[in-house]
């Protein structure tokens, strides 16, 4: 057997296990240990990011509700109620109905009798008591005209207001500029929300970057040794990114849970007024919002620390 070199097989699976164990130990366990050790410097980042994410979650839910409100308003704004005179004849109403139905700007026309109008009013919050208060029916019959383009509502209003079948005092439900006012209000709210979150986001990211910078400074000897013994760059930088991710994940989890809790509490209150303020916000929507808040925290923490590492850690 002289001269024969026997090479031992190093099982690939065992090698993978060793590499995974070492990566876990030095990147994740080490990062978690150092994060707890440097909790003092991570605390400002943790609190500012939690605040940012919580407000983001709440603003997001509010935005979702406002978006739904806008959709409802847009739908309602494109529906024009043309009120009939009490003494309008069927022929006059039919004639107007034909004109509107054949107009290319109109999607559809529905005739609502006085009884149907009363029944509809009785189902609306706030109007129910008013509807029941009187023995006589105060609601007029109407043609409900769905306009294809919301900008044509004014044109249809002008077209029908002088028709013989239409009530001359209160011809339609058209309220010039109502929808535009709502839109302007929503845009204002949205812009203000984004500016507020941008400022808060800037603060949270800056604080996180500085906390990672402090962590790098406190472990400069360890970093220097890792670099000198030839640790790969990702191995040197990785633990700091993981530390940032821990900060982000904990902030995200806290903010997500609070967001979810507040949304659930609001839903549970179950008041009729709430459905007016936050239409469309359900348990599922709240859970999705909480998950998004968590993921945003994770991404924000990792991203901020990556920026810090690239800026403050020499290679």
């Amino acid at each position: 057997m002289a001269g024969l070199i026997l090479r031992g097989h190093f099982p690939r699976r065992q090698l993978v296990q060793v590499v995974v164990a070492n990566v876990f130990r030095y990147m994740f366990r080490g990062a978690a240990r150092n994060w707890f050790r440097n909790l003092g410097s991570a605390a400002p980042a943790l609190s500012s990011m939690t605040l940012l994410l919580l407000l983001s979650g709440l603003v997001g839910l509010a935005g979702f509700a406002l978006h739904n409100v806008e959709q409802v308003q847009a739908t309602q704004a494109s529906l024009l109620h043309v009120y009939m005179r009490d003494d309008a004849t069927s022929a006059e109403v039919d004639s107007l109905w034909d004109r509107l139905a054949n107009d290319p700007r109109v999607a559809n026309v529905t005739y609502v009798t006085r009884a149907e109008a009363l029944a509809r009013a009785q189902g609306l919050p706030g109007l129910a008591q008013l509807a029941f208060a009187s023995d006589s029916n105060p609601f007029p019959a109407s043609l409900d005209v769905r306009v294809k383009n919301i900008d044509d509502v004014a044109t249809i209003h002008n077209l029908v207001r002088s028709d013989i079948a239409v009530d001359p005092v209160y011809p339609t439900s058209y309220d010039r500029g109502a929808y535009q006012r709502i839109q302007a209000f929503l845009i204002g709210i949205t812009v203000a929300g984004f500016v507020f979150l941008a400022v808060l986001g800037f603060v949270a990211i800056t604080v996180t970057i500085n906390s990672i910078r402090a962590a790098i400074h406190s472990r400069r000897d360890e970093v220097a040794i890792m670099q000198l013994v030839g640790a790969p760059r990702w191995m040197v930088r990785g633990p700091f990114v993981v530390e940032g991710a821990i900060t982000g994940a904990l902030s995200g989890a806290a903010a997500g849970l609070i967001t979810f809790g507040l949304a659930i509490a609001a839903i549970a209150a179950g008041s009729a007024s709430f459905t007016q303020f936050a239409p469309g916000v359900t348990v599922t929507v709240a859970a999705v919002a909480a998950a998004i808040v968590f993921a945003t925290g994770l991404g924000l923490g990792s991203g901020s620390s990556l920026v810090s590492v690239r800026r403050h850690l020499e290679s």
Binding site: A224, Q227, L228, G230
Partner: protein, 237 residues
């Protein structure tokens, strides 16, 4: 035989000041050489160029066949795994034991090394520097000489072909310094090239190894091993 370390016309400038000026040298495997010169002569700059902490302004630096002068950042770790480094201030991690300090360097440099293998090799390295029985001690429980030995064990545990030491005896008494030099000589005898930057004239004279003398960034003298020459830089140090 291919040199382990080679400098070809290396110049390094910091602004208008030349820290190294057209330096040429080569070190063979197993060679032990001293790098001497007054403060500010460029010794540390030369060591930093070897380890690619900085790049030369001009010229080429070859370390075990790797071109350190134009090495991309992503490949620097590959170079550094071939160079062990010992510092004057030891740079041990205070929260880790002697054994853990050595094993840490081994594992972060090569993730394929298992815990068991790291422990065995760290123990071997500590044995080699005479501290096999102090593996469980923390740095603050050890003397300066012992800490420097641990630093040497950490530098050689991955068996790099080149070991550089920057004033390794600067914080040690003379007796301990001699022990350190014996250790470096042993390491060189096993085939590792050792380059030691030092101010310790007594050691340099008595060991009679190769001496590279830097003055104001220029390699003014390359004295082969076995000769005892005048050290011109002493006049200016």
């Amino acid at each position: 035989m291919r040199p382990i370390l080679e400098f070809e016309g290396v110049t390094r400038a910091y602004g208008p000041r030349l820290a190294l000026d057209d330096v040429n040298l080569a070190l063979e495997p197993g060679e032990l050489a001293f790098l001497v010169g007054p403060s500010g002569a460029g010794k540390t700059t030369l060591l930093k160029l070897i380890n690619r902490e900085i790049r030369p302004t001009k010229g080429a630096v070859w370390v075990d066949g790797i071109s350190a002068h134009n090495l991309k950042t992503a490949r620097v770790s590959e170079l550094r795994r071939r160079v062990g480094v010992v510092f004057q201030d030891f740079k041990l991690l205070p929260r880790l034991t002697a054994m853990e300090n050595v094993a840490f360097a081994l594992q972060v440099g090569d993730l394929r090394v298992s815990d068991q293998e790291a422990s065995e090799r760290a123990l071997d390295a500590l044995d080699a520097v005479g501290l096999g029985d102090r593996g469980g001690s923390f740095p603050h429980q050890l003397s300066g000489g012992q800490q420097q030995r641990i630093a040497v064990a950490r530098a050689v545990v991955a068996q790099p072909p080149l070991l550089i030491a920057d004033e390794p005896t600067g914080n040690l008494d003379l007796e301990t310094s001699w022990e350190m030099m014996d250790l470096f000589a042993d390491i060189a005898a096993f085939g590792t090239t050792v380059l030691i930057a030092t101010h310790n004239v007594e050691i340099v004279r008595r060991l009679q190894r190769r001496v590279l003398t830097l003055v104001q960034g220029r390699l003014v003298r390359d004295q082969p091993a076995g000769r005892t020459g005048r050290m011109a830089w002493l006049a200016s140090s």
